[in-house]
């Protein structure tokens, strides 16, 4: 399973970024291979539709689960269309969030607008 997290820096001990679409980087973690890699978020500097473009990057990286503090309506539309499960992060390091997710301590993200009807994890 591949997990994505919006992060502030492209280093292992980075914090979760408060924004999804405007996050400077995304961290990708493969639970099978235990590999981590970072991708620069080209949407961060775009003038409009940043959330959609950022979501496209997540989709294109074959992600199953996105851990994020929040997510806009349109980005959620893209992610949900790709069957990506959304979970809400707590503030702090990306690693702490990944650990907590592995320990099954996460709740699904309900921080999107009303049009989002929780999309099953797994």
């Amino acid at each position: 399973m591949k997990i994505a997290v919006p992060v502030d820096e492209n280093t292992q001990n980075t914090n979760v970024c408060v924004s999804f679409g405007r996050a400077p980087y995304f961290l990708f973690f493969d639970t099978k291979t235990k590999q981590t890699y970072f991708v620069h978020n080209s949407a961060a500097s775009s003038t409009g539709g940043a959330g959609i473009q950022a979501a496209q990057i997540i989709v294109d990286n074959g992600v199953d689960v996105l851990l994020t503090p929040r997510c806009g309506e349109q980005a959620a539309d893209v992610l949900i269309a790709a069957d990506i499960a959304l979970y809400k992060t707590f503030s702090g390091s990306a690693q702490d969030n990944l650990d907590a997710f592995a320990a099954d301590k996460f709740s699904e993200l309900d921080d999107i607008h009303a049009g989002f009807h929780g999309h099953g994890g797994k």
Partner: protein, 285 residues
């Protein structure tokens, strides 16, 4: 003659001035470009209303032709497209109707369809034609409505008063594009002076002749007037602070129809404006 009435924020008396000037100047055309909150028609209560839809073009995909090359997704400058699981997702509300994706698609899988984003209502009250632009809720931009509205409202001889949206964003630029003269309405406060400086920048950018009207004017310190003096902005008139006038206006009444005093007040403003417009535009015409 087209006069645009602007202010840096809502509630400065923009509509008060625009409505009363148009009511005085009959025959006149009143154009409400404040498409998110058009309220001028509440004063005129126009009759014989004709309604027209305003549409924009948005792309539509034919899934059997699309081969997923993603050219459209990569080139949309507004990120209105995404490609997920063999499906092209089109975000209407983000799309700016630039038409690029339909042009680019190698498969000719994209075509443009009409999407209604608002309406224009035109009606009449006495000898004033009232044109109102109304943006449907949730739509991204009212600019196409303003473009259609100004076309619809164009009149050769009657005085045209354009009630602009508040602020200094691109929607205001669109509203003043064809104006012969801009009237900047402000309040005699520090905040008013600040907002005035923003709209002043805008009209200067467009090289429009303009004048300032100070609303709710009271004796004493007047930062907006000071700003005008320091920066050489012509103040064409003042509307004194007057509780009775505010009440009339907030009750949806056109003040010049109710009292000789207000008639005289707005007539003097209208005269000052017309004089200034003739003066400012004379060398060009």
């Amino acid at each position: 003659m087209k006069i645009a009435v602007l202010s840096g924020k809502g509630g400065t008396g923009k509509t008060l001035l625009a409505v009363n000037l148009a009511a005085l100047a009959q025959p006149a055309v009143y154009v409400d470009c404040d498409v998110e909150e058009p309220n001028g028609h509440l004063y005129f209560r126009p009759k014989h209303i004709v309604q027209k839809p305003v549409c924009i073009k948005i792309p539509q995909v034919n899934p059997t032709l699309c081969n997923g090359c993603r050219k459209c997704v990569e080139h949309c400058a507004f990120n209105a497209l995404a490609y997920v699981k063999d499906n092209l997702l089109i975000f209407d509300d983000i799309c700016h109707s630039c038409g690029l994706c339909s042009l680019l698609c190698p498969q000719k899988a994209l075509s443009e369809i009409d999407k209604e984003i608002g309406i224009i209502q035109s009606g009449r009250a006495d000898d004033v034609c009232i044109h109102t632009g109304i943006l449907h809720i949730g739509q991204a931009t009212g600019i196409p409505i303003i473009q259609n509205l100004l076309l619809e409202a164009s009149s050769a001889d009657a005085l045209t008063v354009i009630d602009c949206p508040p602020g200094s964003a691109c929607i205001v630029m669109e509203s003043i594009k064809d104006a012969d003269f801009c009237l900047l309405v402000t309040e005699p406060t520090l905040f008013g002076a600040h907002n005035l400086s923003m709209v002043h920048d805008l009209v200067t950018l467009f090289n429009k002749p303009f004048g300032v009207i100070i609303n709710k004017s009271i004796p004493g310190a007047n930062p907006a007037e000071t700003f005008c003096k320091e920066n050489n902005l012509p103040v064409l008139g003042k509307i004194p602070y007057d509780k009775h006038l505010s009440i009339l206006h907030s009750n949806g009444e056109i003040a010049v129809k109710h009292s000789e005093t207000y008639r005289a007040l707005f007539s003097s403003l209208l005269d000052a404006v017309i004089k200034e417009v003739r003066h400012e535009t004379a060398p060009h015409s």
